[in-house]
């Protein structure tokens, strides 16, 4: 039986990796989307771990919701990236500072 702590550590590592991926990533916007997916998966891992720990099914049902939302989000995100590429000719994060004050 693997203790719950290990799951939590795994999900923390996954979450941190994806966070660092978002902050340090300067090139590719696709990578950004992937990191966001990874974050959601880390959260899902947490849900599953706690659901098992408390013998409570609600957490696992939530995971399905999150997966669905993540799929929709990925679709929208990719669509935005497509449009971005069409309009500006690249998907470079470094050049996306139009909101500069």
């Amino acid at each position: 039986m693997i203790p719950t702590t290990h799951y939590l550590i795994l999900s923390s590592i996954l979450f941190s990796l994806s966070l660092v991926g978002i902050i340090l990533n300067r090139r590719n916007i696709i990578l950004l989307l992937v990191c966001i997916e990874l974050m959601l998966l880390a959260v899902n891992t947490n849900f599953v771990a706690f659901s098992h720990y408390y013998s409570e099914i609600t957490g696992q049902i939530f995971v399905f919701f999150i997966l669905t939302v993540a799929a929709a989000e990925a679709a929208i995100g990719l669509a935005i990236v497509m449009l971005l590429y069409r309009n500006s000719g690249n998907i470079d994060v470094n050049k996306m500072n139009h909101l500069k004050g």
Binding site: L19, I23, L32, G101
Partner: protein, 656 residues
């Protein structure tokens, strides 16, 4: 009709007249305006005479009543301010003088201002003036006195600047207003002190507490404590100095001559400027207990009496000569107050009101005849052309010079004698001033008479051919005032000064050791006797010498004045500069205030308020914005990093 109802009508009738003439001037026209205002003032005059008869003969007791409460402080401040009447001999005397002169001036104005576009406005103002003056003298408390005081000041300002298209008139009115503010500042401090220490503004209550006031002391500068009473009296007297044009606050009165002549006669000779004298007489129960204040009054009055009299000798504008003469005579009245001869001062006030109004109205008649020429150097030889004006002017001058049996003799001679007997500190200086002042009076008044009416005509042919005697509506007041100038002195001499009790004795308070008039009374038996004894006095001969000097310099040998001007140039220039009061005021107060204003404008307004507060706020916001926008570089990952750090920070804060 009771006395109270009479007094209400006396006071309010001029106000009604003023309101009608002022607000309905188009509806009532010129004739309506002068009928209503003269009628209402005439009504006041008749009722005043009736009330005076009732009070002075003792048929009716003095009246002291509150009409209504204007404001009260409730439980927190146990003060109440009332509007009320105090009708005693002093009040009725002033009431008769004011309504009498005002009525004659109303009639005179009908002729004098006949062609003026502001005819109705003028009548409205002088009726308003009469109302304010009556409020001033009938009040039974300091607050109502102050109301009337400011009211007459306002009307005086309006009337000096009556011809508002004339630059000098505007300046004169402004000067009068501002100099009066200085006096009023002292006055209001005095009233405040009265309220603070006596707990009331009613005359009766304040006078009751006079002895307790004189024992209390007040510390103005550390280490010097004065009696509260002295401080109160001196501050109130500063108010009187402004209104009654005492040195050094006299500078406004000559400038006020820019107004129409009837105003000079009514406001700046007969009534308003004597308000200060009236006030000092009114507070006699207070001022009598303070030798310091009496001495101050005496010295200020004496200085004015002599030195402004000297100035009158060098003036060339006929109205200014009379204006300086008024200053000098006001000095005499104040000297009488300082010497505790209140009755004599008020007696001089009465006779002065008659003969000085006469002189001003006579001068106005000359000015009309000369087509608004006021320079005496361009007059001369007018007596053939204007015989009635000449005779009345001569009577006025004789009365002013105190030649018996004219009114001025009785009042002025008594004042001089009283000052000679006075034991108040400064009495000998004051005596010297008033005796020398008597000679100056003779010189300047006969100089004016000779330059205007005698000698060769110095105007051009055309003006000379147009000179004419004034209409009857102008001459009538002159004749009435001339008669008054002859008989008033004789009639009131004994009753006002020496009878036992005198007319005003119930209104005045005199300490037995100050009572100089009682000393004189021992030697006076009747006006005839005093008249016959006149040649035994120094003053009489000094006056005759003065008249002779004027005759010598302006009729016999007209080259003497220019000779004097040539060889005593320094003195002449000092006199023409009016001892430099105007230059000093201009240098210290006008320019001083201007540079202080500039300083405040540059430093506090421009730098502190505009620079620091208004623009400074804007600049600070902009600086923060400029620095703040550097944080927003538009890179997504930086925002996320900051957000994560923030969340991390919050977590730490929550946990620890």
């Amino acid at each position: 009709m009771s006395i109270l109802q009479c007094c209400l009508i006396i006071v309010l009738a001029p106000l009604v007249g003023s309101v009608i003439a002022g607000f309905f001037r188009h509806q009532i026209g010129k004739i309506g305006a002068h009928t209503i205002t003269s009628g209402s003032v005439g009504l006041s005059l008749i009722l005043s005479l009736y009330v005076a008869k009732m009070i002075l003969t003792g048929a009716s007791p003095s009246l002291n009543t509150n009409l209504y409460t204007w404001a009260s402080g409730g439980d927190l401040f146990p003060f109440a301010f009332h509007i009320g009447f105090l009708i005693d001999p002093l009040t009725v005397l002033m009431m008769v003088i004011v309504t009498f002169v005002s009525f004659l001036v109303h009639i005179y104005t009908i002729g004098y201002m006949a062609d003026d576009p502001g005819y109705q406005r003028f009548f409205s103002y002088i009726s308003l003036f009469t109302f304010m003056m009556l409020m001033l003298i009938t009040g039974n408390n300091f607050l109502q006195l102050f109301f009337g005081w400011e009211g007459v000041g306002l009307v005086s300002y309006l009337l000096i600047g009556f011809w508002y298209e004339k630059e000098s008139a505007i300046e004169g009115s402004l000067k009068a207003f501002l100099v009066n503010r200085v006096g009023d500042f002292g006055f209001i401090i005095g009233i405040g002190l009265v309220l603070a220490y006596a707990g009331s503004l009613d005359y009766a209550a304040v006078f009751r507490s006079s002895s307790s006031l004189s024992t209390q002391t007040i510390e103005i500068f550390s280490g010097h404590s004065w009696s509260v009473l002295t401080v109160i009296c001196i501050f109130l007297f500063i108010g009187a100095m402004g209104k009654s044009a005492q040195v050094p606050l006299h500078v406004w009165l000559p400038e006020s001559m820019e107004g129409p002549t009837p105003i000079s006669a009514l406001i700046h000779a007969a009534t308003m400027v004597t308000a200060g004298v009236f006030m000092v007489a009114r507070i006699s129960p207070l001022i009598e207990l303070s030798t310091t204040a009496l001495s101050f009054v005496l010295i200020v009055g004496a200085t004015g009496a002599l030195f402004t009299g000297i100035l009158a000798i060098v003036m060339n504008d006929i109205k200014r000569v009379i204006a300086y003469s008024t200053l000098s005579q006001l000095g005499y009245m104040m000297v009488a107050m300082g010497a505790s001869a209140y009755s004599a001062g008020l007696f001089h006030l009465t006779t002065h009101a008659c003969f000085k109004a006469l002189l001003f109205l006579g001068a106005g008649s000359v000015i009309m005849g000369m087509h608004h020429e006021q320079d005496m150097r361009k007059m001369g030889g007018l007596w053939r052309k204007m015989p009635i004006t000449y005779v009345t002017f001569l009577i006025g001058s004789l009365a002013l010079c105190a030649i018996p049996p004219f009114a001025g003799f009785y009042s002025k001679d008594t004042i001089i004698e009283a000052v000679g007997l006075s034991t108040t500190p400064g009495g000998s200086y004051a005596y010297f001033c008033v005796v020398m002042g008597a000679m100056c009076t003779a010189i300047y008044s006969f100089r004016a008479l000779f330059m205007t009416f005698h000698g060769k005509p110095r105007m051009d042919e055309e003006t000379l051919s147009h000179v004419h005697e004034s209409p009857w509506v102008v001459l009538f007041p002159l004749i009435i005032l001339a008669i008054a100038s002859i008989v008033v002195g004789y009639l009131l001499y004994m009753p006002m000064l020496f009878d036992n009790p005198t007319l005003l004795s119930s209104s005045l308070f005199i300490l037995p050791e100050h009572n100089v008039l009682a000393e004189i009374a021992k030697e006076v038996s009747s006006p005839w006797m005093s008249m016959l004894e006149a040649p035994h006095s120094l003053v009489f001969w000094l006056t005759l010498i003065g008249i002779f000097i004027a005759y010598l310099c302006y009729i016999l040998i007209p080259s003497i004045p220019s000779f004097i001007v040539k060889y005593f140039n320094i003195i002449y220039r000092i006199l023409m500069d009016k001892y430099g009061f105007d230059s000093l005021n201009d240098f210290v107060f006008v320019r001083g205030t201007k540079s202080l204003g500039r300083l405040f404008y540059n430093v506090s307004d421009q730098k502190l308020i505009d620079g620091f507060f208004v623009n400074g706020t804007g600049r600070t916001v902009r600086w923060f914005a400029t620095k703040g926008r550097l944080i927003q570089d538009g890179y997504l990952n930086h925002y996320i990093a900051v957000m994560v750090l923030g969340v991390f920070g919050f977590l730490c804060w929550l946990i620890f």
